[in-house]
């Protein structure tokens, strides 16, 4: 069986000031090829001003369990939100 080319994740910055956002993945054997095919595959209509490509195997992802534990941990820290504090109306906007 033929060996498959490397998988890359593609991130596109849609316009100045916005962060790069994950749009999908592509196959390519090296960086330049990855950038070129990311451009052809994901930005045929001016979707972006900058592209990142990252070899997929270098990304470490959380599992849904990790995340729900982390969320549960902050869910009970309601004092991190401004609405936790009762401030009289006549104090004015704060």
């Amino acid at each position: 069986m033929e060996k498959e080319t490397l998988l890359w994740e593609v991130f596109v910055r849609s316009k100045n000031g916005l962060s790069h956002k994950h749009v999908g993945s592509i196959h390519a054997s090296d960086k330049m090829m990855a950038l070129n095919s990311a451009r052809d595959t994901y930005t045929r209509r001016n979707e972006g001003i900058s592209i990142w490509v990252v070899p997929s195997h270098l990304i470490t992802a959380s599992t849904s369990n990790d995340i729900s534990d982390a969320l549960a941990n902050s869910e009970n820290k309601i004092y991190r939100h401004p609405s936790f504090y009762d401030i009289p109306d006549d104090v004015g906007h704060m």
Binding site: T5, G24, T41, Y42, R44, R45, S64
Partner: protein
């Protein structure tokens, strides 16, 4: 990333009744399922089958239209057709990438297609005989595809839903350029009108078949609806397509090739709709199973492209290895 990630997850999900109920609850609450989430094996399998068939359809679908790129009647039509076919190639790639998040590799999918083991939409096994076929495909085939794809933007599986959102945005010009081709021909000389009508005659029934077998015979629909992979049944989508396409045909004085077509007040919960004559499902199954006039040609063309590209893939890999050193 998901493909590799999944391979690390060696623990098999145990499908206890509690697990299945919890999964269904997530679906019922309109939560999106993401690649690393535990999911029933059948959910994964159904999605792999559906998304890979969808991807193959986009890729094989480039062939009938690609057939007319060099013969488009004007430079404008050529540029438009080229852009459309390029889009379809992109759609195939987004969808292969979405399927890969479920743990199948693109190479495996490609091999399934080339070996003739994978299905793709039966519509692409028909030939494009005249320029009017390009109009009919954009109008009817992309029209039917859009009907199908819009509800898929809300599919419960995140990567598939997101790919569909991007695809639907890009599809919007596909149908319009096709209808414009038909409209131009329909307003032209008698030969041109006849050509448009002939294309409609040949593409109409295969387009209705694109929605798949009737609900009474569609085995997977119930489970797919329950899992919110599908939001409408085959017959519901076919009805939407009919109600949209028939006035469009009338508008340009073309005749739908169905003697039994009639307005039925009772359809669509009493709002009325069109009912159609019997569909030749035997033809459908014959073509799905590779019996269409062009089936062998399509696979031969895909195989030629794949084999012809091998030296490029090999060279690129060799170059990457050399640069790394």
């Amino acid at each position: 990333m998901y493909t590799q990630g999944l391979l690390d997850h060696s623990e098999e999900t145990e499908e206890t009744p509690e697990f299945l109920a919890a999964f269904q609850k997530r679906i019922d609450q309109e939560e999106k399922i993401e690649p690393h989430d535990p999911m029933p094996r059948a959910y994964r399998k159904t999605l792999i089958r559906q998304i890979s068939q969808h991807a193959h359809s986009e890729i094989v679908g480039m062939l009938p239209e690609g057939n007319w790129i060099t013969r488009a009647p004007t430079l404008k039509r050529k540029a438009v057709l080229l852009a459309k076919v390029q889009d379809e190639g992109g759609h195939g790639l987004y969808l292969y990438a979405a399927a890969e998040t479920l743990g199948i590799s693109r190479l495996e999918m490609t091999e399934q297609l080339l070996k003739g083991e994978a299905k793709y939409s039966s519509i692409f096994n028909y030939p494009t005989l005249t320029w009017a076929d390009i109009g009919a495909i954009g109008w009817l085939v992309d029209g039917a595809a859009i009907m199908n794809q819009i509800p898929l933007c809300r599919c419960s599986y995140g990567p598939y839903a997101r790919a569909m959102i991007k695809i639907c945005k890009e599809e919007s010009f596909h149908q319009r350029q096709g209808y414009e081709v038909m409209m131009t021909l329909a307003e032209g000389s008698k030969e041109q009108r006849d050509m448009a009508q002939d294309a409609l005659n040949r593409w109409w029934w295969p387009s209705l078949m694109m929605f798949g077998p009737p609900d009474t015979e569609s085995s997977n629909t119930d489970q797919s609806m329950k899992w919110k992979i599908k939001r409408f049944t085959n017959d519901q989508l076919r009805q939407k397509f009919l109600d949209a396409a028939i006035p469009q045909a009338k508008r340009i004085n073309l005749t739908i090739p169905d003697k039994n077509l009639k307005w039925n007040k009772k359809l669509n919960n009493g709002r009325g709709g069109y009912s159609h004559g019997p569909i030749d499902w035997e033809e459908f199954w014959r073509v799905v199973k590779g019996g269409g006039p062009m089936a062998r040609d399509r696979l031969r063309a895909r195989k030629k492209a794949w084999d012809g590209g091998k030296w490029v893939r090999d060279a690129a890999t060799a170059y990457a290895r050399k640069v790394k050193r």
